[in-house]
């Protein structure tokens, strides 16, 4: 309810400022909401949102896959880390917009180029948070598990990644936000539909109420995606995972039981 109150306050502030400024460039909420409704019932908003969601989902899935794989890999292989991290650090500040000529040549104008722009913005946060999450796992826990005979894969799967998940998920959420931010840039690359494309189109034709309606849609969809990821992050929180695992244990999942019992024991012993 408090969150809703915050949004209502923001909308109220928007309305007051827009009325006070009284410029065609800043449409008040009272003009934007009817425009949103018009775009919604005409199906136009759905068409653009569907295109953008496909772009986002492909680009973001790619960023998560690559970011997680590389993030885990660089913590396991020092040579790979030495080779990859300078490249990651050098690439992070390079805006996707500056890479358009390369993207055009390599990927053309189809969905691949848009997905790549979104991927490009999202992946550094995921790789860095994944690595950071793993580095932060208490060494005494991993060493104890190794003494118990856990191999590299078992250690990663049952100890390190579960404990690093909160930080990894934070990286994924930051990456998702980055993906939405680059959406407009992505849809400047030879697009014929999409929310970014619509924002540009309405802006260029001075239909500002419609433009803000599409921006509002981007905000709502970005928020929805973040809420979903936050929910997933909450569910993947270690303590909750542990209590869920106890239920699994009753059904005889001894592998999970072993690692969680070990982790719990070492956590209580170390605290």
């Amino acid at each position: 309810m408090k969150r809703l109150g915050g949004f209502l306050l923001l909308l109220l502030l928007w309305e007051v400022i827009a009325r006070r400024v009284s410029s065609p460039l800043l449409s008040p909420v009272s003009a934007v909401l009817p425009a949103s409704w018009r775009l919604l019932i005409s199906g136009e908003l759905f068409l653009h949102a569907r295109t953008s969601l496909i772009n986002i989902l492909i680009g973001f899935s790619l960023a998560v896959s690559v970011g997680l794989t590389l993030g885990v890999s660089i913590t396991q292989f020092k040579t790979l880390r030495s080779m990859l991290m300078p490249i990651v650090d050098a690439m992070r500040p390079v805006a996707a917009l500056t890479l358009f000529p390369v993207i055009l040549v390599a990927l053309g104008l189809g969905i691949a180029s848009k997905a790549f722009v979104i991927f490009w913005t999202a992946w550094p946060a995921i790789i860095l948070n994944t690595a950071e999450g793993i580095y932060r796992v208490d060494k005494s826990i991993t060493e104890a598990a190794q003494l118990d005979g856990a191999g590299r894969w078992a250690l990663l799967r049952h100890i390190i990644i579960p404990l690093a998940l909160p930080i990894i998920m934070t990286g994924i959420r930051i990456g998702a936000s980055g993906g939405w931010i680059s959406l407009v840039a992505a849809e400047m690359l030879g697009a014929s539909a999409g929310l970014g494309y619509a924002v540009l189109g309405y802006s260029q034709t001075f239909h500002f109420a419609e433009m803000y309606a599409v921006i509002l849609t981007i905000a709502v969809l970005g928020l929805a995606m973040n809420v979903c990821l936050a929910y997933a992050q909450d569910k993947l929180d270690y303590d909750k995972e542990a209590s869920r695992a106890e239920k699994y244990l009753r059904f005889g999942d001894r592998a999970i039981g072993w690692n969680l019992d070990s982790v719990r024991w070492f956590k209580s012993a170390s605290s």
């Binding site: 460039l25 104008l109 030879g190 260029q204 034709t205 001075f206």
Partner: protein, 293 residues
């Protein structure tokens, strides 16, 4: 010395020549260029928001802006299709099966901006061949990306203006083929003008008059000194001198009111603009151009 701010983007612009050759200074005006923008609509928004006093834009964008209540008005010519200067060129690949506009059905058509003069010219060309804009797939693509996309087969048609046109010809030569140009569709027309903030102009008539006079002087000088103008344009745009063509303007760089009316009628007919109260004199004027009788 009076001062004003100008929003530019990288095209052949007599404002650069007027600054460089001192034509504005002659009228006691200093014009400060405040930076490149994406295109005319962005320039209009910057001027309407008070970030600058003048800019350049297509006439359709100035019409749309006025319909939306933005106080901008065209002053002087910057882009016109003229007998020596078709201005808008539409290319296909030389090996393309597209031989006429009728063959464009279902094809990918690149335009720099939606509802830009290129977009409207393309739509008019389609209409003349009994098609509509729904018969092709318009793809939003910046000028500098279009020739590469065409050569790689990612789009079927591109629309270029100078200096991208000269660049495409010099770079790809026999690999591209001209399908049509703007005069093939509707003869010679004015496409783009400089504009000023109407409210600012009301309170600063001397500055507007100096701005217009400087541009008129520059346009006249350019037509008589094409080779000398090229390095100046190159200096301000970063475009190689070799890609800068000869350039021509309306007489005395005036706003062609008949052409403004043409664009206004077309946008009203399409329903893109519903402000039927708009008149050509709301969109552009020659009242500050002392060279126009």
């Amino acid at each position: 010395m009076m001062t004003m701010r100008y929003v530019n983007f990288k095209v052949y612009d007599p404002v650069y020549v007027a600054i460089d050759k001192g034509f504005f200074a002659k009228y006691n005006l200093e014009v400060k260029i405040i930076g490149d923008v994406l295109g005319g609509p962005t320039a209009i928004q910057a001027v309407a928001a008070g970030a600058a006093e003048a800019g350049l834009s297509s006439i359709p964008a100035i019409i749309n802006a006025n319909a939306a209540g933005l106080p901008v008005i065209g002053t002087t010519d910057i882009q016109s299709a003229l007998p020596k200067q078709p201005l808008e060129y539409y290319y296909v690949r030389a090996d393309s099966p597209i031989k006429s506009i009728k063959d464009l059905k279902g094809k990918q058509f690149a335009v720099n901006l939606i509802k830009s003069s290129f977009h409207y010219t393309a739509i008019m060309a389609l209409e003349q061949s009994d098609m509509t804009e729904k018969d092709v797939n318009f793809v939003l693509l910046a000028f500098d990306k279009q020739e590469e996309a065409l050569i790689r087969g990612q789009v079927d048609v591109i629309g270029l203006m100078e200096p991208y046109n000269t660049h495409a010809i010099k770079t790809y030569g026999d690999k591209i083929r001209l399908l049509f140009s703007a005069p093939d569709v509707f003869g010679n027309k004015q496409f783009c003008t400089h504009f000023v903030n109407r409210v600012w102009a009301q309170y600063n008539p001397a500055a507007v008059q100096a701005f217009v006079s400087g541009i008129v002087d520059a346009a006249v000088w350019i037509e008589a000194h094409q080779d000398e103008a090229r390095p100046i344009i190159a200096k301000y745009t970063g475009i190689e001198t070799a890609f800068i063509p000869d350039y021509y303007f309306q007489p005395q760089a005036q706003s062609n009111m008949a052409d403004v009316q043409f664009w206004l009628d077309y946008l009203l007919k399409r329903g893109d603009v519903t402000a039927s109260w708009l008149k050509a004199e709301n969109i552009a004027t020659n009242k500050w151009n002392s060279a126009v009788k």
